[in-house]
């Protein structure tokens, strides 16, 4: 085996046998993906619910087609007991109760959720007015024509798959390069390799090769899980642009790891510094929730975070139909970041931990 292959192999084995590392870089982000996937499954399709007490002519006599259309927005339960129905409204189990009394349709709603209450009132008003118009036997003067447009906003899974993936890659690449440096220095492998007939280029390219391979494995597993019908991620045309993006992202996070590994004297110090850097970066970069409402100065901070740019452009190419135009500037920025941070790390680098 060549020096490059055997070094890569040694690093990959060391990584795969580190259960904690595999858990935090692969299993944990996947668990979050699955959890978010389940939690936000029905986020956008929340229907209002009402209870109908006894007979209500305007609802009962609704033509089949109109009733079906109404059912898209409204679930209608039936009961005979008005008191129980009102109790359910109070408890928040349903949004409103409706009954008919002396020719008037009575609606009682809870104000706990103003938006839902408004929806229910609007729906019932249109049903009543439709019935009034039908009762006059006259043709309608105005008509509302509707049609659906493809919405530009993203469904939950389209949003958090790129975000969580970016975070997983940031953790994997930065932890691996920091720990390689700290552990190899502690175990004097760095010194030992200096005394072996291999160039620094071979060692560095093996390290980069293993990290890139691991990042691509993360991408493959994430996309495989998120595109399962249950989670329903729809990949857009240029999704494969995520690969060069992830490669550039991996390099930039490796450079962060190098900087921390060059500075840290022990595994604990490296671990602490990585947590302090990666977690806030993930929050500010919108890995876990949208950051549109961040105060201005925080968005300025986020502009300097490689993960923020990786997340946005991953989202662009994975689920918003973005292309080279979205990916190229980000790739350039990530590589520039890598160059600057690596140069700083090289100045801080020490051979020995003492």
């Amino acid at each position: 085996m060549s020096a490059f292959r055997s070094l890569s192999w040694a690093m990959a084995l060391g990584l795969l046998r580190d259960r904690t590392a595999v858990f935090f870089m692969l299993i944990f982000p996947l668990m979050l993906l699955a959890l978010f996937g389940v939690l936000f499954q029905n986020e956008s399709t929340s229907r209002s619910a009402i209870v109908q007490v006894g007979d209500v002519a305007v609802l009962d006599d609704l033509p089949e087609a109109e009733f079906a259309a109404l059912s898209d927005a409204l679930t209608i339960e039936k009961t005979a007991d008005r008191e129980r129905a009102l109790e359910e409204v109070r408890e928040g189990d349903v949004d409103a109760a409706v009954w008919e009394e002396d020719g008037r349709v009575q609606l009682r709603y809870s104000a706990a959720d103003a938006a839902r209450a408004g929806t229910v009132q609007g729906l019932m008003r249109s049903v009543v007015q439709g019935a009034n118009l039908a009762a006059t036997g006259l043709p309608a003067t105005y008509e509302l024509a509707t049609d659906q447009v493809e919405d530009k906003s993203v469904k939950a899974i389209q949003y958090f798959t790129p975000g969580l993936l970016g975070w997983a890659i940031a953790m994997g690449a930065s932890f691996m390069s920091a720990f390689t440096l700290v552990q190899w220095r502690r175990k004097r492998i760095l010194r030992r390799l200096w005394l072996a007939p291999v160039g620094p280029g071979t060692v560095i390219s093996a390290r980069i090769g293993v990290s890139l391979a691991f990042s691509f494995v993360q991408v493959a597993i994430f996309l495989a899980v998120a595109t399962m019908p249950y989670f329903g991620l729809k990949l857009t045309g240029n999704w494969w642009l995520s690969l060069p993006l992830v490669a550039c992202g991996t390099l930039s996070f490796m450079s962060i790891g190098l900087l921390i590994g060059a500075w840290a004297k022990s595994d604990e110090a490296a671990n602490g510094a990585l947590q302090v850097v990666i977690m806030p970066m993930a929050f500010l970069s919108g890995s876990f929730f949208p950051t549109g409402d961040m105060p201005g100065w925080l968005s300025t901070v986020a502009d300097f975070l490689p993960l923020a740019h990786l997340n946005t452009s991953l989202q662009d190419v994975l689920s918003r139909g973005g292309g080279w135009g979205d990916a190229l500037p980000v790739m350039g920025g990530l590589l520039l970041f890598t160059a600057v941070v690596t140069a700083v790390a090289a100045r801080l680098f020490r051979w020995d931990s003492t």
């Binding site: 085996m1 060549s2 020096a3 292959r5 055997s6 070094l7 192999w9 040694a10 690093m11 084995l13 060391g14 046998r17 580190d18 552990q183 190899w184 175990k187 004097r188 492998i189 010194r191 030992r192 390799l193 200096w194 005394l195 072996a196 007939p197 291999v198 160039g199």
Partner: protein, 244 residues
């Protein structure tokens, strides 16, 4: 063509760490096939001397030639001909004994068969699937020596290979080292054990405070100075008791 240059030719090496003059003008020569010992108490500068000679660190002053070539700057051609065991065992994270030595073999372009044979030579065949952190002190030292020898180097450096071992493990390691030397390799070893130097080395350099005080075969040193053993030699040279 027979190369008659000395295995090691060291002149005027100096190295300073901050306020500490770790190596303070060291000069010595080692002949091919010789078993050479550097003996001295902790902090004498043995490790630093070895690191300068191996080309691991750049000397402030002086030079070291190995097999006729300068050891600094680093040359891959020379590195292929020397084998080094660092004072602390340098192993890859989470690999078994066999995987460690296979990795080192690949770095030097040696075959896997050769690596397995080396593992057998140091008596670790049974422990080949054990990870480095589960090996005993003596086993780790033997693995480390096996890794240093996997490419069949002409010149071998060992830094305190028997420190921290129990008496039985030390004796086993001594047999191994004598075996390595008897196949014609030049061996340089540092130690702070008098008995080890006396038993193994053709010549010893007695080192203290960054300087070599005296060089010679152990028996000659003892005779010349009218001492009973190397411990007395050290006392006579430095005026203080030898503390390990």
């Amino acid at each position: 063509m027979i190369d008659n240059t000395a295995a090691i030719d060291v002149r005027g090496l100096r190295k300073r760490y901050g306020d500490v003059q770790a190596v303070d003008g060291v000069t010595f020569e080692v002949a091919r096939g010789e078993f050479y010992g550097i003996l001295g108490p902790n902090g004498a500068g043995k490790t630093t001397t070895l690191e300068l000679v191996e080309g691991l660190r750049q000397p402030d002053e002086g030079s070291a030639h190995l097999l006729g070539e300068p050891s600094w700057p680093r040359s891959k051609r020379l590195l292929r001909r020397i084998g080094v065991q660092l004072q602390a065992s340098a192993f890859f994270e989470k690999l078994t004994a066999r995987e460690q030595i296979h990795t080192f073999a690949a770095l030097y372009g040696a075959s896997r068969e050769r690596a397995d044979a080396m593992l057998d030579t140091v008596g670790l065949t049974e422990k080949r699937d054990v990870r480095d952190d589960k090996l005993s002190g003596g086993q780790a030292q033997r693995l480390s020596i096996a890794c240093a020898l996997v490419h069949d180097p002409e010149l071998v450096f060992l830094d305190e290979p028997t420190t921290g071992l129990d008496p039985q493990a030390r004796r086993n390691l001594w047999d191994l080292l004598r075996g390595i030397n008897s196949t014609g390799r030049t061996v340089v070893l540092t130690t702070h054990y008098m008995d080890e130097a006396e038993l193994l080395c053709d010549r010893v350099a007695i080192m203290d405070a960054g300087r070599i005080l005296r060089v010679g075969p152990p028996a000659d040193l003892i005779r010349e100075l009218g001492a009973n053993n190397l411990e007395d030699v050290f006392l006579q040279l430095t005026g203080r008791e030898y503390r390990e």
